[in-house]
């Protein structure tokens, strides 16, 4: 606040909070004798008018919103909020957590023979897919398994490609969350730090805006919650670019 006569300040405040009116003798005298106060009052009343205008707009928007029937995203409100409530309950009571289960854990839950048969078939299919992707499937690290019911699969580019235009995958983005693509040095250890990271991806693909400089590398994709916690990650996929002609 600018240095100003404290008595003038006090009178301006009394006017703005409604304790005095402009035709009160002390106000008439102040406004006729102090140009600074006149300017300041004008500006302060302008701020108050702006606040009223914004508040009025807010009320109009809320009234208009009440008249809206269907709106994009309306059908998802229930699911999103129940998911969040469930996650919060899980946080408070870990035994109630609905978290992604490892394949091992899921297998244990399926006790019935029919279900067990389905699991065997799924595992066989998973082994086949992993083999096709050409990753380190001979001795997979348990931490590197595809987790969750909406597992991150179908990663591409995979294998040998000549030009990388887009990285894509299949999976459901967590409510409010995002995906992160991590690129690792070719054949690096599973606990190696990535050499390139692209985060805050909202779709299920990423088109690099700069050329990927490495001829060989591995990559995977991670899904993150709205709070930035890692929820699941895909296996690593190898990319080996063909030599240019």
């Amino acid at each position: 606040m600018n240095a100003h006569d404290p008595h003038h300040e006090s009178l301006l405040m009394s006017l703005l909070v409604g304790d005095l009116t402009k035709d009160a003798p002390e106000m008439v005298e102040l406004l006729s004798s102090c140009a600074d106060c006149r300017t300041r009052l004008e500006e302060l009343e302008g701020v108050a008018r702006s606040l009223d205008a914004v508040a009025e707009q807010e009320r109009r928007d809320l009234a208009a919103a009440r008249e809206v029937g269907d709106a994009p995203g309306l059908a998802d409100v229930d699911r999103i909020l129940r998911d969040r409530a469930l996650q919060d309950q899980a946080g408070a009571d870990p035994s109630r957590a609905r978290r992604p289960l490892s394949l091992e854990a899921r297998r244990h839950r399926l006790a019935r023979p029919l279900a067990a048969a389905i699991v065997v078939l799924c595992l066989a299919a998973a082994v086949f897919i992993v083999g096709e992707l050409g990753s380190d499937s001979n001795n997979p690290d348990p931490e590197d398994r595809i987790l969750g019911t909406d597992g991150l699969v179908d990663l591409s580019p995979a294998g040998t490609v000549s030009e990388i235009l887009e990285f894509s995958w299949t999976g459901t983005r967590p409510a409010g969350g995002s995906f992160t693509v991590r690129i690792f040095a070719a054949d690096s250890d599973l606990d190696a730090e990535p050499i390139m990271v692209e985060g805050w991806i909202r779709g299920t693909s990423w088109t690099p805006t700069v050329e990927i400089p490495w001829r060989e590398f591995d990559w995977n994709v991670v899904s993150l919650s709205a709070m930035g916690e890692e929820l699941e990650h895909s296996e690593r996929v190898q990319v080996r670019r063909a030599e240019a002609n």
Binding site: L44, L51, G73, V77, L81, G176
Partner: protein, 201 residues
């Protein structure tokens, strides 16, 4: 007239207390309260739709659905900060407004425009609409920088149309202290809006 105003104020205060009780019940794990809250928060996509319409349909329906999801998650995370000083819908509106502004801005920059997405045609918006949007943004920035208790007193005074005795009672401060916070906040906003205005020129 005075009687009507007092009735209105009491009615609003009752509604705010009921909303606070609803939120507290949800946070305590009450499933019936969760059902009721979900119904109330269906206002989020509707408010976002309204803001988008008013801004000239900057976002596509798919963008809006995405934004609605993000805002709902944000509101859920902030639910414990709801203090019942406004209705749930008014409290929610500020999240919708701020997040939609951020989203519009990203679209303006062209980062999230995908094939077929509607581009911003700012020039086609009415001048009054643009002016109000700028004013709204400056006020929101100013209030968020001012912070409590000044911003709370100003919001209660202008947005909730509370009297100073009501504000004092709500915030647990003497009426005269509420008036002082209001005046200081207004003075602070005056200077801040002036500098924001100079920055925009």
């Amino acid at each position: 007239m005075t009687e009507t105003l007092r009735d209105d104020a009491e009615e609003r205060a009752r509604a705010h207390r009921a909303d606070l009780a609803l939120v507290e019940a949800v946070l305590a794990g009450d499933s019936a309260a969760l059902d009721a809250l979900i119904k109330r928060l269906e206002c989020v996509p509707r408010i976002l739709h309204t803001l988008n319409e008013r801004a000239g349909r900057v976002l596509t329906p798919a963008d809006l659905a995405d934004l609605s999801q993000d805002v709902l998650v944000l509101i859920w995370e902030k639910l414990k900060t709801f203090e019942g000083r406004a209705t749930l819908e008014t409290w929610t509106y500020r999240f919708c407004w701020l997040e939609s502004r951020n989203c519009f801005r990203r679209v303006y920059r062209g980062r999230e425009i995908g094939p077929g997405a509607s581009a911003l045609i700012f020039e086609e918006l009415p001048a009054a609409e643009v002016s109000l949007a700028i004013e709204h943004e400056a006020i929101e920035i100013g209030l968020s920088e001012l912070g409590p208790p000044g911003s709370e007193v100003i919001r209660l005074k202008h947005f909730e149309e509370r009297t100073f005795p009501e504000i004092g009672s709500l915030l647990g401060i003497p009426t005269n202290t509420a008036k002082t916070h209001y005046y200081r906040g207004l003075e602070w906003l005056r200077q801040r809006l002036r500098s924001l205005g100079e920055g925009m020129e």
